[in-house]
């Protein structure tokens, strides 16, 4: 669909506005005008650290949104691909760099500033390769077989890292991962890293928005409408689904690498099945088919988590922070029943209604999960 006037630049404008908001939040933390910090906005519940984590997971969830909303497939092992990125970066910049690489190649390239960046690329290639090997045969099958395949892969990756002995550090993980830098410019302290993380997140969002509005995106929407019809019109279903799946895992890998360099410690805990479920909840909250929903879905989950951690014991007697999953389970069920297109879609409808309550939706929104045919 050809958009008219300023709408042709809708994506760039949207990304631009979002970037300005991100910049303002970062500036608030860096400059601290009149001693006002970012965490003061919410009375200390949401900290700047949370904002960086939201950026990291936004990168993952954008991929998951494309996969679930546009290719109609669900990945229950996305945290595993996130883990590959994190572990490749962590291992290759610490143990491997110190022992193997520097011995093999004289000149200690393992300590050069570009080595970690190269390893982020390596993580992307490895993750994408594994996703391709799994996805190619599995996506040929109709139905939700990718969910099962990714579930299996995610858990295998998790157990391998947990039982990996000294190579992966077992339950303790890999520590003292170096910070990222370009030449002598180090992405640290925290506010510098914040800009790096969000630059990546915005780039990923921009790329995905463009894909969704391109030939591939139209093909994917056709698949959502009717696979048979799409196939008849010459849409290569399997190829499109596979591309989106591989792309989503590559996003996860990038975010994983950035996580490793932010946390400087990688252990298996956040990468299990529960981690994958968290990601699905975030994607579902933001809106399954909505790229714009991703950062909001992640942010909402984080805010709820932080608030619950602080206040849950007063809501439910004897409940601690670990009981937050009750709320998340409930939230996931309610959202899927009452607004399966997610919060961003509901907000869009509410906005349209506010502008003109009498008018029905003129055109069906593009990012819509279709009803079941029967």
């Amino acid at each position: 669909m050809q958009r008219e006037g300023w709408r042709r630049h809708q994506i760039s404008i949207g990304i631009g506005v979002f970037a300005i908001v991100i910049f303002l939040l970062g500036w608030l933390e860096m400059a601290q005008p009149m001693g006002f910090e970012f965490s003061d906005i919410t009375g200390g519940i949401v900290t700047f650290d949370t904002l960086i984590r939201v950026g990291l997971l936004t990168t993952v969830v954008v991929g998951l949104n494309m996969l679930m909303g546009h290719a109609g497939q669900i990945s229950l092992g996305q945290a595993g691909f996130y883990a590959i990125g994190a572990y490749v970066s962590a291992i290759m910049t610490t143990k491997a760099a110190n022992r193997g690489i520097n011995v093999l190649f004289p000149g200690a390239i393992g300590e050069d500033w570009w080595w970690p960046w190269l390893m982020i690329l390596a993580g992307m290639v490895i993750t994408g390769g594994i996703a391709y090997l799994i996805g190619r045969p599995v996506l040929r099958l109709k139905g939700h077989y990718l969910a099962m395949g990714t579930l299996g892969v995610g858990l295998i990756i998790f157990v391998l890292f947990r039982e990996g002995g000294t190579f992966t550090g077992a339950a303790d993980g890999v520590g003292s991962v170096p910070r990222l830098s370009i030449g002598s410019f180090e992405f640290w302290p925290r506010d510098r890293y914040y800009f790096l993380v969000w630059a990546v997140a915005l780039a990923v969002m921009w790329l995905s928005l463009n894909i969704v509005n391109s030939r591939v995106g139209r093909g994917l929407r056709a698949i959502e409408g009717s696979e048979l019809a799409a196939q008849t019109m010459g849409v290569d279903i399997e190829k499109f689904k596979l591309q989106v799946f591989v792309l989503s895992t590559v996003y996860a890998s990038i975010a994983g690498s950035l996580y490793a360099h932010y946390q400087t410690l990688v252990n298996p805990t956040p990468f299990g099945f529960v981690g994958s479920l968290d990601l699905v909840i975030m994607a579902a909250l933001g809106g399954l088919a909505s790229i714009w929903g991703a950062p909001f879905g992640v942010a909402i989950v984080y805010v709820i988590k932080e608030v619950l951690r602080a206040r849950l014991s007063t809501l439910l007697r004897g409940a601690g922070g670990e009981h937050e999953i009750i709320i998340f389970g409930l939230l996931l069920v309610l959202i899927m029943i009452f607004m399966p297109q997610g919060l961003s879609y509901a907000a869009g409808r509410a906005f349209a209604w506010l502008r003109n309550p009498s008018r029905r939706e003129r055109e069906e929104p593009l990012d819509r999960l279709p009803e079941k045919a029967t």
């Binding site: 679930m68 077989y145 395949g149 998340f328 409930l330 069920v333 399966p340 009803e371």
Partner: protein, 322 residues
């Protein structure tokens, strides 16, 4: 075929390196069949729901946990009953309570969203599982509990020994239960109107509806049955393991893999798949490391999806086409 021979050779070599004899293998296989029978019960629940509704019910593991935990809770009550009667009542309470939970889950979450995309319904069942696990954590805490063994009525089970092979009496209870459930299911599906209606709904939902079968009620029935099957598995397993709030995740996933091995639509396939999976993972873990036990099940899952998505045994194309 060549791959199979290679696999057996690797297992034998690893076993040889550990000094395993025939006794150890028999022991591993026996224990594997015990675990596999539980997977089979759970897998039957997956198959019933998938056949009727097309939903992969990730809450199935929650039903297993709730069956075990409710039975434990009842058994720990201070009632003036002989221990054997209290344990029997606890088993009934665990299974009946979970069946009600299963029916409630269908009415409260699946029914309101019945016109939604299957993907949405699957995500709903994931949410239900998370909720159930959270509630169990809230009610029972993170402790592992005990249920006395059915024969000895004590925590220490009777152990039958023969030629170096040990067999817990509870294993016999598990196999007996599986046999009774299978016979019961056979009669239900073959000899009762309700069972035949359920089968009709599985074969062709639309046609069944035209014949006056209410698919919404069949969906309710399938969830209740799945819950009962899962709870039975959880209850008979309890004395052999220690029930804990998060036990459902692993058991649910294994049961699911067993269902896939059987082709997802076939009940006999699910049983064979479950037992096969139990034996495979137990022998594989026995000759390598116990910590790797969970990996083998998922490796099996991937291999099945890659090479035989229609299941190892029968199953047919319907599961793939669904």
């Amino acid at each position: 075929m060549a791959a199979l021979v290679l696999l057996v050779a690797i297992v034998l070599y690893l076993g040889y390196a550990k000094g395993f004899g025939a006794v150890q293998y028999v022991q591993l296989v026996l224990d594997g069949i015990r675990g596999g029978s539980i997977y089979a019960l759970i897998a039957l629940g997956f198959v019933v729901v998938f056949n009727v509704t097309g939903i992969i019910n990730f809450a199935q593991g929650g039903f297993v946990m709730s069956g075990a935990m409710l039975a434990v809770a009842f058994n720990n009550l201070d009632l003036p009953l002989p221990p054997a009667l209290q344990l029997a009542l606890a088993v009934v309470f665990g299974v009946a309570g979970t069946t009600v939970i299963g029916a409630l889950v269908e009415r409260l979450t699946i029914f309101p969203a019945r016109h939604s995309h299957t993907l949405t319904l699957i995500i709903i069942t994931v949410g239900v599982y998370i909720f159930m696990q959270g509630m169990a954590l809230l009610v029972w805490g993170a402790n592992a509990y005990n249920l006395p063994a059915f024969s000895s009525l004590a925590l220490e089970d009777q152990i039958l020994r023969s030629g170096g092979i040990m067999l817990k009496a509870q294993s016999l209870w598990i196999w007996g239960t599986l046999a009774v459930v299978l016979v019961g299911l056979y009669f239900f599906f073959e000899r009762t109107i309700l069972g035949k209606a359920l089968r009709a709904c599985a074969i062709n939902r639309r046609a069944a509806e035209l014949m006056g079968i209410n698919p919404s009620r069949m969906s309710l029935l399938s969830f209740a049955m799945a819950a009962a099957l899962g709870a039975i598995g959880g209850v008979v397993l309890s004395p052999a393991t220690r029930p804990i709030y998060d036990m459902g995740l692993k058991l649910g996933l294994k049961g699911f893999i067993a269902a896939i091995m059987g082709g997802m639509v076939s009940s006999p396939g699910a049983v064979v798949g479950g037992i096969l999976l139990g034996v495979l993972e137990n022998v594989a873990a026995g000759v390598t490391r116990a910590g790797f036990k969970d990996i083998f099940a998922f490796v099996v899952l991937i291999l099945i999806l890659l090479f035989r998505p229609q299941g190892i045994i029968g199953g047919g194309e319907r599961g793939v086409e669904q």
